[in-house]
């Protein structure tokens, strides 16, 4: 690691790998850094040496990551893996911990490509041992081939069906699939169908997964109106409301999923402006056509700025890289424009399916804003929905004051798992839109940092007093 780079890229998913490959090919001094030990991000996790021999289990879309990873491996970008990125300041000072030592370095341009995370699913019992997100179950499958027999899959969204399908292909028995997609979503998604038809193969793929799951004899229940997970010290059962009647399925593992949302913490802490997207029910980075944010020199590419999927992320990574190269005088305007044009067209095409998917798999209110007062919203500080509503009635006006009232959002995750629920909960209680609330102010370090590492931090000469 050097003290300074032309371009620093955070994240080695499709956006980050594509950006690094382009940027270093044009002579930029590039750093790319990620928490994970291997490249691929979540979507292509384990792509460089996948241990699952049967390629039909993870499917063709997964192996699309291979050529991207190969091109990246051939590039001369400085790759730092297994590192914690604990801050990117508005002055593009980047804080990185690696092997027990903290470093501060700077870059002329920073591309934040932190990808997606799963939307929180705050229902009663969601914090019990034995409950995990479907995405976490997939991580264990992709990275170590670990599976759990007789788990219940509950929720909505393509990823839920995909992972269940991957389980099916791997021959792992599934106890049940509880589909929480509201029936009314189909009607609301209908106007967006024409755009989605450009991606007919994707839609057919999804239908294939669901059809295979249903015809396999797996219990597949649709139209679920509510869910709760019960158990004393760990998960014992999942209960579901169907046509006004509660039912119970005994299970010790429950996989929840209701879509993915941008992982915004690092960009927000850097001062990048975000806005609430009501269609997607999450924060979106406010960026221009190049992915550039309001903070000079910081851009956002891939799902971290707004969900578009792996292919879109790759195009966004390329576009952001060309703009960074142009800004640092590594390519001329015309070269930039010629090179990004195909990517821009492909990106527009790629995004056409999104409005349909957003409407079709929009999670219902009761799964986003807990109705039961005892449901935990902030996992780190164990703050319940009831406690938050009580604070609002005492005059707590927004997520930042809520920290003072309840410590909600003040744990090590800094709101990563609660800020969406908290924002919606407060907005609903005050009958305003989320955009009218103050956003949660994120405090560095964005990821926990050992005090001993901080104490040994090499002082930047420019700031030494």
């Amino acid at each position: 690691m050097k003290d300074h780079y032309d371009i620093a890229i955070i994240g080695t998913g499709p956006a980050g790998m594509a950006a690094a490959t382009v940027a270093s090919a044009h002579g930029a001094d590039v750093l790319i850094v990620d928490e994970q030990p291997e490249v691929g991000g979540q979507i292509y996790r384990g792509i460089t040496h996948q241990s699952i021999k049967d390629k039909t289990i993870l499917g063709d879309d997964y192996y699309k990551g291979q050529s991207l990873a190969d091109a990246f491996a051939a590039s001369n970008a400085d790759h730092v893996s297994g590192a914690t990125i604990w801050q990117v300041s508005p002055e593009r000072e980047i804080g990185i911990s690696k092997d027990g030592a903290a470093h501060l370095l700077t870059a002329d341009q920073v591309i934040i490509a932190t990808g997606a995370q799963e939307r929180p699913f705050p229902i009663p019992g969601w914090t019990l041992p034995g409950v995990m997100t479907a995405g976490s179950a997939q991580i264990l499958l992709k990275s170590s081939g670990i599976t759990f027999s007789n788990a219940v899959f509950a929720g909505t969204g393509p990823l839920l069906y995909l992972i269940a399908y991957q389980y099916l292909k791997a021959g792992v028995p599934i106890r049940a699939i509880l589909d929480t997609t509201p029936k009314s979503n189909r009607l609301k998604a209908l106007p967006h169908l024409p755009g989605a038809l450009f991606h007919l193969s994707s839609i057919m793929k999804g239908r294939k997964w669901i059809k295979a799951l249903k015809s396999s004899g797996t219990l597949f229940i649709e139209g679920i109106d509510n869910l709760k997970i019960t158990g004393k010290d760990s998960t014992e059962a999942i209960e579901y409301l169907l046509q006004n009647k509660w039912h119970r399925i005994e299970a010790s593992n429950v996989f929840l999923h209701q879509g993915v949302v941008p992982n915004v913490n690092l960009a927000m802490a850097s001062g990048c402006i975000h806005h609430w997207n009501e269609q997607k029910l999450c924060w979106h980075a406010s960026t221009d056509e190049w992915g550039s944010s309001n903070v000079p020199g910081i851009s956002i590419a891939g799902d971290g700025g707004g969900i578009g999927g792996a292919i879109a992320a790759e195009y966004q990574g390329r576009i952001a890289a060309y703009q960074a190269l142009y800004t640092t005088n590594k390519v001329k305007k015309q070269e930039r424009d010629t090179n990004v044009l195909p990517a821009q067209h492909a990106l527009t095409h790629e995004m056409r399916i999104r409005p349909f998917l957003d409407a079709m798999f929009r999670p219902a209110t009761q799964y986003r804003i807990p109705t039961d007062d005892a449901t935990i919203v902030c996992r780190c500080e164990e703050v319940t929905a009831g406690k938050i509503r009580e604070s609002i009635s005492l005059g707590c006006a927004g997520p930042n004051q809520l920290k003072g009232f309840t410590r909600c959002g003040m744990g090590p995750c800094q709101g990563r798992f609660c800020s969406l629920s908290v924002s919606e909960l407060i907005a609903k209680a005050q009958n305003v839109s989320v955009n009218e609330l103050e956003q949660l102010r994120l405090r560095p370090p964005v990821k926990p940092l050992m005090l001993a590492e901080l104490a040994n931090l090499t002082t930047l000469a420019s700031e030494d007093t």
């Binding site: 300041s89 804080g95 940092l449």
Partner: protein, 376 residues
């Protein structure tokens, strides 16, 4: 937006701890008050400071005030129906060598000479009993029994709630844009309202200098971003609040196990944007100070750091007292140690407005000390 016109007996500019406390004491004497706060109550230094309630190491003019303030803190629940998380577990300043210890001895004597006995020297054995986790090279310290800390945001919110229950009107998101004389009244304008009163109290913290200027007074307050950081939960290892003679350090562990560290390490403040930037080099120095005094801190994990925007005066003591024009009072610029004094200062300003006797000496805090020395 239409501007509504209102009147009051007294207008308080700034909804921090000093503003809310002043409003509460005034309301208890039947004075009709309005508080104008540009953001929300406790948004800046009042809500995010380290929460120290200390007499230890105060500037000499502040010693009598800090001593009286503590008696309010001991009964804070009687005043505002909330104990504010006040814990009286002592404060200690650690000496790492003989030079530091003798400086502390001199300090203790100076405080005794003005008639206060709360600061006492402790030896290495007593220090170890008080702080079992302290580094073995520390040889003694200066200790004040009865000092402690409270939860700042909870405190300022409790003052706000109690003030409202006593009839105080608190207007948040109401920045003061202009103050003009209107007959015998001060008329205060904000985008959404106009309000006037014969009395105006400037409790605007880091923004107190510009409010003072509009009231005909001069005070060179500097906005500073004083950084703090907090760890993930740790096993309990320290009860008192700990400082250091040789390093700048403020250190305390809360009931939930988290440890907060500060020591007036500065980031940079942008008061017009309500913005602060942190300096990780400063935080690194803070981390070195903490690990030197408490080796156990090498195992700690920092989860958050932040800075509040605080008003600091050139002589590091606040402005408290009447202004030059009729009906003008000031309480701002507490220079990073105003939290403990807040409740008392509310009472002092109320006594001044009420024309009552002020038993405590506050002349050192007069605002005219700056204009007297100012080169014009």
């Amino acid at each position: 937006m239409s501007t509504s016109k209102q009147t009051a007996d007294a207008i308080i500019v700034g909804g921090g701890l000093h503003g809310c406390a002043t409003a509460l004491y005034l309301a208890m004497r039947g004075v009709n008050c309005a508080v104008l706060e540009k953001d929300y109550v406790g948004r800046h230094a009042s809500g995010v400071n380290a929460g120290g309630v200390r007499r230890l190491g105060r500037a000499l003019p502040e010693v009598p005030l800090a001593d009286t303030a503590l008696s309010i803190w001991r009964n804070i629940e009687d005043l505002i129906d909330d104990d504010c998380g006040f814990k009286s577990l002592g404060q200690v300043k650690v000496a790492e060598n003989n030079a530091e210890l003798s400086a502390l001895k001199n300090r203790a004597k100076t405080v005794q000479d003005i008639g206060f006995l709360h600061e006492e020297i402790i030896d290495q054995k007593q220090l170890r009993e008080l702080l079992p986790a302290v580094a073995s090279h520390c040889i003694g310290g200066l200790y004040v029994n009865g000092d402690g800390h409270a939860n700042p945001y909870r405190t300022v919110t409790a003052f706000k709630r109690k003030a409202i229950s006593m009839g105080v009107r608190i207007f948040e998101k109401t920045p003061v844009t202009e103050i003009v004389r209107h007959g015998k009244n001060w008329q205060v304008k904000s985008p959404s309202k106009k309000i006037e009163a014969p009395i105006i109290v400037n409790c605007a913290g880091a923004w107190g200098g510009s409010i003072a200027a509009q009231l005909g007074d001069y005070a060179p307050v500097e906005a500073q971003a004083l950084m703090l950081m907090i760890t993930a939960r740790m096993p309990h290892f320290v009860k008192p609040v700990v400082g250091s003679q040789g390093r700048t350090l403020s250190f305390k562990q809360f009931d939930n196990g988290t440890v907060m560290m500060g020591g007036a390490y500065q980031g940079s403040a942008e008061p017009e944007q309500n913005n602060t930037h942190l300096s990780f080099n400063g935080l690194a120095k803070n981390a070195r100070a903490a690990t030197a005094i408490f080796p156990i801190m090498r195992q700690a994990t920092i989860v958050r750091s932040w800075a509040g925007i605080e008003g600091v005066m050139p002589d590091n003591i606040p402005v408290i007292g009447a202004g030059s024009a009729d009906g003008v009072y000031h309480a701002f610029g507490f220079s990073a140690h105003g939290f403990a004094l807040g409740p008392l200062v509310g009472k002092i300003i109320t006594d001044l407005i009420d024309g009552g006797d002020i038993e405590l000496p506050i002349d050192a805090f007069r605002i005219r000390r700056f204009s007297q020395n100012k080169d014009i």
